[in-house]
Every structure is written in C-alpha cells, then in structure tokens.
Amino acid sequence: MINQLPIINMLLFLATALIIPLLSRRKFNITLIFGFNMLALVMTSSFFMLFHIADNGAIIYQFGGHDSRIGIEFKVDLMAAIISLFVVGLTTVIYIYSCGDETEGVEQKEYGRYYILLFIMLFALLGIIYTNDLFNAYVFMEIISITTCSIISIKRKKETYAASFRYVMLNEIGSLSYLFGVALIYMVTGYTNIDFVSQSIQTIWQLYSINIIIALGFLIIGIGIKAAVFPFHIWLPDAHASAPSSSSALLSSIVVKVYIVVLIKLLFKVFKLDVLNHFHVSDILVVVAATGMIMGSIFAIAQKDVKRMLGYSSISQIGYIVMGIAMFSSLGLSSALFHIVSHGLMKAALFLSVGIIIYKKKIKKKDQFEGLAYEMPITMGVFTIAALGMIGIPLTSGFISKLTLGVAALDHRQGFLIIIVVLSGLLNVIYYLPIIISSFLKSEPKIYHPFKIEKVPWPMLTSVIILGIGILTFGIFPNLIMNIMTQAAELFGWV
C-alpha cells in the first residue's frame, strides 16, 4: 500500500481539479473546504512517505508493472520526499490565504478556474519531483508552464497579459531547449530513464563528448530559464509584480524551487561528478550564482514597486541556492536544500504580507509604507521577521542557510565566496531596512491613532502567522530539518 502513495497523491489532486467544476457554484465555500481537506490528506500521506523513506530507502514505482527501462518509473528518494512535503505544506498555507483574498487577486467568476489550475499545477509539481524519466519530466514541465502562466493572466489586468505573454515565450524557449537536450541524450544513449541514461553516459561520454556537452548546455539553459537563474531572469520581475499576490507567492517560493530540484537531479543523477568536473561545470555555476547574487540585489535597490523589488530579491536568493549546488559537495547541497525551504517560507511570508497591505491599503510603492505598523501590527511584524531573515539576522532561518553556505564554501576551499555572501547580505539591508524603519517610525506623530488597527480577514492573517512562526522555528531549531537534509544530500554518492 505504501508503495502506491506517490500515484495516489497525484490522483487525489487530479480528482480535486476535475470535481471542482461539478460542485455548486453558489456555495463556493464547499469547494474551498473540499480542496483544503484534499490538501490536508495529501500532506498527511507525504508525512508518512517521508518517514517510511527515511527508514526503508526510496520508493520505486513502475507504471503498468513494466521494467523501468521499458516503461515509466517513479523514484521517490529522500530529497524528493522532503521537497514534496515542502511543496504540499507551503501550498496549503498559501491556499488558506487565497480563501480570504476576495478582491485584489481574482474576479469572483474566475474562482473556480483558479482552483482548477492550482490543483493541476500541484499534480504536475508532484509528478516532476517524483519522476525518474527525462521525457516524462518534460510533459509535466509543460503542464506547469501553462498553469503558472494562466494563474498570472487570470487577474485580467492590462499589464498582466503582456507579462504573461513574455513569461510564456521564455518558458517555452526553456522547455524546447530542454526537449532538444533530451533528444540529444536519447540519440547517444537510447534511454530516457534517468538511471540507465546515467549508466550509459558514464561509459560513453569520452566517445561522444561534444554531443554530451551540448546536451548538458541545452538542459541547463532550459532549466535555468525556468528557474530564473541570473542571466535568464528577465521574465520574473514583471510576472511577479503583476500577478495576484497568492500566485506570486506560489511562483516564487514553490515553482521556481521545483525547477531547482530538477536541476539537482540532472546534475547529480544524470551526468554525475566525473563528467561535470571534466567540463568545469562547477566553476561556471559559481560565477553565474555570484553574479546573480550581487546583480539581483543591485536591481532590487533601484525598484520603487514593492512586489517588483521582491521579485529581484528572489533572483539574488536563487543565486544562493545555485551556489550551494555548485559546491558539488554534500555540505553544499544540504545548504541549498535548506535554503530552498527557508527562502520558500520567507518569500511566501513577504509576498503574502505585502498582499494583505495591497488588499487593505491599495498601495504598491516602497515609500508609502510609512507608519503602517501602527495600523497593521501583525502583518508588518511578519514582514519584518521575513525581511530580517532575508538579511540574515540570527534567530531566523535565513541566518542558518547563510551560515551553512559559508561553511560549505570554506570546506570547498573557496573562502572568497563568503565575501560575496556577506556583500549580498549588506545589499539586502539597503533595500529591506528602510521599509521596516519607515513603517515603524512616523515623521508626523500627530496622526498616530493607537486603537485604529485595520481588520484583516482571518484566513489571510492565519496563513501569514503560520509562516512567521515557521521562519522563527527553523531559525531557532534548524536541526528539525537540517539532519534529514544532510542525510538526503549524502545519498547522492559523492566521491
């Protein structure tokens, strides 16, 4: 029974997406409760799966009972189990938020479609995490492309359409270059299953080295566009700034991270260290990540729109994750995995709290935040916690991820990378701290009304509070997840 859990999880999401149109449109609350129950159910089963896999090793699921080189195979290892639990858990929190978000995001008539698209996206996200087949991953990638683009364009504003058009174009270039890479790999190996491709590449890569490096380039560029790794980030700020807040949170903290997981799979499961070291992939990735960390922060300083600023900040944070991966060591990978989770929590908290502020106050610019903390103490409190986490203040999860990244850099004998990490943290201070300070201080004290606290719908407030508590918990007790991440990172067979 436990072996069937991956496919059952995915089918539950698919069933939810298909049942939503059948439920009555007038009583929309039933749909919301139904969706929440499904999410809670899948979260429970993901928990079970995580504990089962931590004890007994990976779950392998072969479709139709065919041998894995003949058919399609799912392989849920420890990393996949952690990331799937993270995806489902964080989506649940954002889902609670979106239940309260009535006017800013999506029109009333579009609610049903929004949730259909959300659940299909979850289906595909779980699929791309679980799958052990390169072409199957491409199919899920395309489902994710269409759904993410349409949960942006569902807002029906002028600028949203232009942003989603740009997003869909770049996303498609990414998908097609991934497909070209898969075709090249298929040409030289004859398999699409990751395990067999990897075995085959280990024996033939010296024979067809030019083909292999071109395939590697296509695959990394394809995933890089989708994960907004630095030189390919141009779609991200527009898309994030114009999307509904809950969609921005989903995109930035979940979808992009899942593509990073695909990148990890490609590098360490398909190509393996021999090939990568021969082509100096590590050095290239380190340079790309370091440039991304600095440039993302510099762009973010120049922005006036808060959501756009958060988008550029995401680019710099993705640089941290890629740098962790580029160390090519167990420590580096575990720091990258930890930062995936911690940045997911922090960015979701930032986007959602900004979403509450836009919902209540209709302000979008950085300089309009003055004195907001007196009217919305909880929202701004969570915003402050998350922003401090971005900067890397102790007691937040952001500090732990930066610390482990620094340790990994030292371990990799690349101490100068610490300077870049610190510099990027300082740049973060420049754009986050003024917002926090101006929201807690007022230049004109006479407008101060101590009892004028804005009422915020409870689902929005609950989700933001959960995220704030999460950031602090993982900051104070990092070993809750750090141990299992180290265990997951060590499974990749480092030399």
Binding site: E142, I146, K158, Y161, M169, A183, Y186
Partner: protein, 126 residues
C-alpha cells in the same frame, strides 16, 4: 571527400539545428507577437525533425507488425515522443494566441515596441 560524407550523413541534424536557431532568432528579435508564436512553432518542429531522424532506419518499414520475415522496423520510441510533443506545442500555441487576442483588445497593437511604450506610459500615470 570524407568531410562531405560526414555532412551528407548528418544533414538531418544540421537542418534541425538551423531550423531551431531560425525559430529562436524569430522569437528573440521579431517585434510582431504573432511572428514570435510562429518562431516557437518552428523551434518545436525542428526538434520533431531531429527525433524523426534519430528514429529512422534506411530501408526500414513502419513499426506495424507486417508478418513477413526479415524486415527491419524503424525505431518506434521517437515517434511516440513526437506525438506527445506535438500536442503540447499546440496547446501552448493556442494559449499564447489567446493572450495575443487579449493584448490587441487592451492596447490596440501587437507590436512589441509600441506595447513597451504603452506599458511605460501606464506606469508613469500610476
């Protein structure tokens, strides 16, 4: 002579690469949104051409059981991958066309440059 032979043997790959780059250039440089969508389709088609070339066997027969002895079937797997790929590219094309319809309705243009200017003006008004 040998070089020419290599070129002739891999003419499918060269064609696929040329088409891929033509499509990519169309998507990146053209200002008309419809032309960009066409560029995407060209890119997709180039990959399908490449997959057909991988699967083909000279003198082979289509992969349907023929009952005769000693025939060589072509490789059926790339055909399956292409079937899946075509449908996916069609869906993406339709979605981007619908976005184009909407952009034309909202801004009255499908030229990227004019669009960028209009968006910038809107930003200044905010």
């Amino acid at each position: 002579m040998q070089i020419i032979q290599v070129f002739v043997d891999n003419i499918n790959f060269i064609g696929a690469v040329a088409l891929f780059l033509i499509g990519l250039r169309t998507v990146v440089t053209k200002k008309n949104l419809i032309k960009r969508i066409m560029g995407l389709n060209i890119m997709g088609t180039s990959i399908f051409l490449f997959l057909v070339a991988i699967g083909n066997v000279t003198g082979g027969v289509p992969p349907i059981l023929s009952g005769e002895e000693g025939v060589t079937y072509i490789n059926p797997i790339p055909s399956v991958l292409i079937l899946t790929g075509i449908v996916v590219v069609v869906s993406i094309t339709v979605y981007s066309l619908s976005l184009t319809v909407k952009i034309y309705e909202m801004y009255g243009t499908i030229n990227q440059d004019e669009l960028t200017n209009l968006i910038r003006e809107d930003d200044l008004h905010d």
